[in-house]
Symmetry: C4
Subunit: 214 residues, 4 copies
């Protein structure tokens, strides 16, 4: 590319990555992250009582289900965001990469929380780690909206006036998960229950009730 071509490129999208491909890769990573969660469960060994094993790892099963549904909600949010992104630049790619790193990491604190609740030791630590992981991951959405609000040219035209409202809404998730981290200091099971409530709330509440300000 000579310098004329470079000038031309400056006009064009700064990256050859159409948003569709970024979405496809993100979908792949999110689907895998959700499906890998099951590998952290402990399959009963030959000779082990199956119901006793299930009963013993009820906390792990609960954490597995909550994380699975939470990752699906992250996926819905991811699509809502990229639905209004018209162009991708490097910073957006990097922030999206951090988001995917967070989502791919979720299986780790999920397994740690399940085991700690089963063992009855250090479960506050594990619940704090779990809630902070979800807070940081959800916070990546806020970072993405913060960046998009400052760079409205990356947004589809109709979405630009709504970036501030979207940024404000994106702070609800991190705030709730930070609250869950505080709750974890008192009760790890209550913290997991709060994360379950958040997942249920975001899944089932009709949009027009949940987003009155938009």
């Amino acid at each position: 590319m000579d310098s004329e071509a470079t000038a031309e490129v400056e006009e064009a999208p700064p990256s050859p990555l159409p948003t569709g491909r970024v979405e496809a890769l993100s979908d792949g990573i999110i689907a895998i992250a959700a499906t890998l969660l099951v590998l952290e469960l402990h399959v009963p060994e030959p000779g082990e009582d199956v119901w006793a094993s299930l009963a013993h790892q009820l906390p792990s099963l609960a954490a597995y289900a909550v994380s699975f549904l939470t990752i699906l909600i992250f996926w819905v949010n991811h699509h809502a965001l990229f639905h209004v992104v018209a162009r991708v630049d490097r910073t957006l790619l990097f922030l999206n990469g951090l988001l995917l790193l967070g989502i791919s990491f979720v299986s780790f604190p999920t397994a740690a929380l399940g085991r700690a609740l089963e063992g009855g030791m250090h479960d506050a630590q594990a619940a704090v780690l779990y809630a902070l992981t979800l807070a940081a991951t959800a916070g990546c959405f806020s970072a993405l909206w913060l960046y998009l609000r400052a760079h409205p040219a990356l947004l589809a035209g109709h979405a630009r006036p709504r970036a501030v409202a979207a940024l404000r809404r994106s702070l609800v998730g991190p705030a709730l998960y930070l609250a869950a981290a505080l709750v974890a200091l008192v009760s790890a099971p209550a913290s997991l229950a709060l994360a379950a409530l958040v997942a249920g709330y975001f899944t089932l509440t009709p949009r027009h009730l949940r987003r009155p300000a938009s």
Copy 2:
């Protein structure tokens, strides 16, 4: 978005998720769930007799093959369903999420059943868990059709008159797997064989024979 825009949104699909994307994520999770099954097999250690190891874990290999084909059938059913879904709302997303959770969980009871059959202990428990997991997962299809019958606006026009028949057909799977759970109380291998028969039946029977009422 101001209140006029909200009103307009109420007319539009209630979610920015086109059904194509929901299908793509579901395909991803289903493909991964099927492929992860192999990780639960026990690879012969150095020095272990390979044929003896295979012979010993014949039940695990059988459960692996049955689960793999069953998950492929779930995938076919999933496409038949989303083929006629015109719009996705939050409840549908949630029910689809439960279905995917069930499919991603299948590797757990599959491995448990294989190991219990190898160990010759608690195999009735493991076979009940296996059959109930498949019944619950297949039941998510019934739940989806129940919801779609009650919300025909989500269906493509030509599919609306057929929702009742589709719901009725979707009850066959759960019923057969509940029968397999009862059989498991008598014989775990017979229960797995029944699940294999169900998979073979749904895979190979021509559609017009299988669905006379439609």
Copy 3:
């Protein structure tokens, strides 16, 4: 659907699954099967000499690379086949399911062969299992072509006259892997080397040299 509609359906493709979706699911399973292979390698433990560990598991690394490239070749063949499939019926879906089951299983004999070669025991058994797995998987392509030759209506028009030649070509893979199974009885490393040669041959040989009869 009433009986008139059923009659109409008999004319239409017998399944709501477009070939594109079958290809997408197959791509997903093939990609995952190839990528999971790495999980069977033994990561050096803290304190373990890294080069010694690599040297010790050289057979596992070789089997990993051969299987990875072989799965990629299966993928190329899969596309060449579905490139000329115009319609999918249930039997085709079932045969494709067996093919995917075979591909998803490859990581098991790959790991078994690597460990047996490292342990220096039962490596003939493991190499036979490895070669037979590849023969059976490659044989699924022959089964698919056999079925397509007998049901030319499923093929795109231009491909129908070429089905016999494609079937004949599809027998080369299984034959070579059966030969590798025989070689395994004499020398397991030679059998793996033959599988590597097959992979190299199918990857690098120009098509017009490889398929003189077509």
Copy 4:
């Protein structure tokens, strides 16, 4: 296909694989390779102090994050490359297969490096292996560009004059990772830090600054 048809095929793309499908499979493998990295982390056991476990495996967490972002950068480079590829031939498929093999292998040296840094033994070996793996993988891009420069017919017309510049740029990655391998002989943590710097540089530096010669 008779000999006339063969001649015709020589004019047509030498493979029925559209570049879109190669990209889709590559995307799948890259997404899985990135997501599997988390499985090599050590989840705290019941009763284990969670913060102590995290502190102990800080090197593994750092290697995980660096590898995750590095794989995402490989993905961006992969798209930039296939963005200008108009046709795929067998050699290109083979080189792309080697690239994917390298990417799918990254989790192995990542885990080895994390464990060696934790154990404080043989960490130079592990860091050399890590850097050489990244160098070889990045070198596959150079091999691809070398081949494309020699076979410009595979490139989109507008991209042909830029192949030499692209090849030159593609040598930066391998050179930096070879430098990291040399640094590893002195200090394994410094080598990992260099890999992190490379990832940060390629992620965040604006294109027009990073590629002055193009």
